[in-house]
């Protein structure tokens, strides 16, 4: 069947139940009730601290075929996922579904366990490197499911993604299971993705390298949601978890893209007192933060709130009073982690609060402006952030779909050319974010406004930036780099890309050349 953006979605895909084709950003109306974890009895002074991960695995009753989850706030410094999967493998448990909020390169360590059948299915936001290649290879026993951060929260809360055991890396944890992310040697800041897992998994295991006497405060994940606690030597490598303040790019091309993006915001009509904004952590986004800061100061404008993955430039804006509050689902650097610890206006939030389209109001719905990055974009404004030019999974959807749908103005920044490859093309290989939710594409050569947004195009005419048709950008890209040959793929679906509402926006077929 063909979905609403013209993508062919097979009627039967191994392991995917209730296939619903994408119909539009707010077309699918859900029914049913939220799910919940099992009810249990907890007696006074029960002991939650166990001696080892193995003991915790036994205590949870983990069995073949169950689903386990992890959070990715430790980014490329994560030890927890690898440690737990190794322990599970030792016990001979097989056929598990691995459902982390995302996967990083460091998690490649578990590939042998996938090959041995310990893990036979993956549901996540994305993957890179060897893991991405494996998920695209068609060698997985079950089709991989790729979801946005909001989509994952939705799937968990609706029971579509049923987590049997959630393993939560806890930078600080007390002896009764209260957890926060801002203390300890492995502090990562917000635990926004883990919050949903903790609230809905049947069993929750906290793994910590900073066990403290009861009670810990502040509390991010409460004792009421934690079954067992294991203390280990290290849950992550601080160097991989968070760097010092992320550096603003010096790449002139990124700076130019950032300048155009900032000017587009300035002239969009949304740049006014108490507007709200989300910026990414990519080079152009960080640079845009600097330019935006200058414009806000110049024009005496302050933002009501900032959102999403948090970085040092955002914190500076908070500290200088240019942003009144920050809602934080993930931190990228040390200044952000420290800020969340000390500043009451820097508020931790769950992935559901952030972006779940099927609760009573994700904060993305209140967002005015978001800047997002892209691997490639097409003339219908569809965006791919997941597959590389060879069709292999190499990125993550993250909050892309969620913020693009929720924000009044969604700006996608991308270079026109990456090396010898055009990035504005006829049709993206994989659609992650539908073009109808993307308003402006910014490249170093020109800025294209979605024809649906005539109002924006009229506004931007006043701005001193090159506004072009998206087709002109594509033609320019092809003129420089030539038109790329389509990636040859088999019929075999290696992964599905869900839209945030659970419908299928695209499928990733196994490339013939891997």
């Amino acid at each position: 069947m063909i979905n609403a953006i013209g993508r062919e979605i097979p009627e039967n895909i191994a392991g995917i139940k209730n296939i619903k084709p994408y119909g539009g950003p707010f077309e699918y109306v859900p029914t049913g009730r939220l799910t919940g974890p099992n009810i249990i009895l907890n007696r006074p002074r029960s002991e939650k601290v166990l001696k080892s991960i193995e003991q915790a695995i036994d205590a949870t009753g983990l069995k073949d075929g169950m689903t386990i989850s992890f959070h990715h706030h430790f980014r490329n410094g994560d030890y927890v996922l690898n440690m737990v999967v190794a322990a599970i493998a030792k016990k001979g448990i097989k056929g598990l579904t691995l459902a982390p909020s995302s996967l990083n390169n460091i998690n490649e360590e578990i590939i042998p366990y996938i090959e041995q059948g310990v893990i036979t299915a993956v549901e996540t936001s994305g993957a890179r490197g060897k893991m991405g290649k494996l998920l695209t290879s068609g060698k997985m026993a079950k089709t991989t499911i790729i979801r946005s951060h909001g989509g994952r929260a939705r799937a968990i809360e609706s029971g579509e993604l049923r987590i049997d055991v959630a393993f939560i890396g806890a930078p600080a944890c007390d002896t009764y299971g209260n957890i926060n992310g801002v203390e300890g040697k492995s502090a990562c800041g917000s635990l926004g993705y883990a919050m949903v897992d903790a609230a809905y998994a049947d069993k929750v295991v906290a793994i910590t390298d900073h066990l403290v006497p009861y009670p810990l405060f502040p509390v991010s994940i409460p004792q009421t949601q934690v079954d067992y606690i294991v203390e280990v030597e290290a849950i992550g490598d601080p160097k991989g978890i968070a760097s010092g303040a992320l550096r603003i790019s010096k790449d002139p091309r990124e700076l130019l893209i950032a300048q155009y993006a900032t000017t587009a915001i300035e002239y969009s009509g949304y740049f006014k007192q108490d507007y709200s904004i989300q910026l990414g952590s990519g080079g152009a986004s960080l640079a845009a933060a600097q330019f935006l800061k200058a414009k806000m100061k110049q024009q005496g404008i302050t933002a009501s709130f900032g959102l999403g993955g948090v970085t040092a430039p955002f914190i500076e804006m908070l500290d200088e009073g240019l942003i009144k509050a920050i809602y934080d689902v993930q931190d990228f650097d040390i200044p952000s982690i420290q800020s969340m610890k000390k500043n009451a206006n820097h508020q931790e939030m769950s992935a559901s609060f952030y972006a779940n389209p099927h609760n009573r109001g994700p904060i993305v719905n209140q967002l005015d402006v978001v800047i997002l990055s892209a691997t490639e974009v097409d003339v219908d404004f569809n965006v791919n952030v997941i597959t590389d030019s060879n069709g292999v999974i190499m990125g993550a959807v993250g909050g892309h779909q969620d913020t693009a749908a929720g924000a009044a103005l969604s700006i996608v920044v991308a270079p026109l050319l990456r090396g010898r490859l055009p990035m504005v093309i006829d049709q993206v290989h994989t659609v992650c974010t539908p073009g109808e939710t993307v308003d402006i594409i910014v490249t170093e050569r020109g800025v294209a406004v979605n024809p649906r947004r005539k109002d924006l195009r009229d506004n931007l005419r006043e701005a001193n930036i090159p506004v072009m048709d998206i087709e002109e950008l594509r033609d320019l890209a092809y003129e420089f780099a030539g038109k790329p040959d389509p990636i040859l793929v088999s019929d075999e679906v290696a992964a599905v890309v869900e839209y945030r509402d659970g419908t299928l926006i695209d499928v990733i077929r196994r490339p013939l050349q891997l």
Binding site: P252, L256, E444
Partner: protein
């Protein structure tokens, strides 16, 4: 009026930079075949620049800095590059009028050979020695193709047997003589590069200084220096307002066929009108013309 506030050097042997050279808003890009290209890559750079100029429409003036004709590369550079009709040839280390005239003859021959409009390829000279500075006016007027003279900083300092200081005192005399020669010849005076691209503060100070001295622009080595330079060269709102009033009064007097131009009871002479035109040209280029006058 042609502006040369920023003349950006782009190494001729870097394909990525050649492709993107035109996007940063420099008034002139200078594809460099000389100092930024290693001897082993001279050949490749020459042909890369040739092909880039053939294939890409740059939205600004395009210059090529050739190697000196005393090297084995200079004539070859001209032979290849002139075929794609650069707007401007930049000569390194010019010391005498004869240096200019020799290249002028080669360009003239190339224009005839390729059927280009005679005189359409311009020239500028970099002066990099004390001798060159002494001959600056002769160099500036050696050919009608000459549109600018510039200081080539590092070589000049080597010749002077000194080094850079924070306030640039080592350049004072040369800059002064260069600007006088350029003004007398009626062509542009371009300042030398500021190589420490991360030192924004000193770059701003130096560029402000040379703007105040009367220079028309600066050679830059990084796109990040372009906007800063353009900002420094941007006239103030007050200057623009005044210039607009001068031009309006001048146009009105022309319409009245009156030989006398006055504004608020004060006589306006030709240099004032020219200065006003220059101010508005800089304002227009920076997109800050108060929305009224377009030149």
């Amino acid at each position: 009026m042609k502006l040369r506030r920023t003349m950006m050097f782009v190494p001729g042997n870097n394909p990525g930079m050649l492709i993107n050279a035109g996007i940063y808003g420099a008034d002139t890009i200078i594809f460099d075949l000389e100092d930024s290209v290693a001897i082993s890559e001279k050949d490749a750079a020459r042909h890369l620049v040739y092909n880039a100029m053939k294939a890409i429409k740059y939205p600004c003036e395009v210059a090529v800095r050739i190697n000196h004709i005393s090297t084995p590369f200079g004539y070859k550079d001209l032979e290849v590059i002139l075929a794609v009709k650069p707007d401007l040839i930049r000569l390194p280390k010019s010391e005498t009028a004869a240096d200019i005239q020799e290249i002028d003859a080669i360009i003239t021959a190339a224009e005839i050979k390729h059927g280009f409009v005679p005189g359409s390829i311009k020239m500028m000279a970099a002066i990099e020695t004390a001798k060159g500075i002494r001959n600056a006016f002769e160099i500036a007027t050696a050919s009608p193709r000459m549109v600018a003279i510039a200081i080539g900083g590092e070589d000049f300092l080597a010749d002077l047997q000194t080094s850079r200081t924070k306030d640039g005192k080592e350049f004072h005399s040369a800059r002064g003589q260069l600007i006088l020669a350029a003004r007398e010849a009626g062509i542009h005076a371009i300042d030398t590069v500021f190589g420490d691209v991360n030192n924004e503060e000193d770059f701003i100070a130096e560029t402000t200084r040379i703007k105040e001295m009367g220079f028309d622009g600066k050679s830059v080595v990084n796109p990040r220096q372009i906007n800063i330079t353009h900002q420094i060269f941007m006239p103030t709102t007050k200057e623009i307002d005044h210039a607009e009033r001068v031009i309006a009064a001048y146009k009105e007097s022309l319409a009245r066929k009156s030989g006398v131009v006055s504004l608020n009871g004060k006589m306006i002479d030709v240099p004032v009108v020219k200065r006003a035109e220059r101010t508005l040209a800089y304002a227009n280029a920076a997109g800050k013309n108060n929305g009224r006058v377009k030149l």
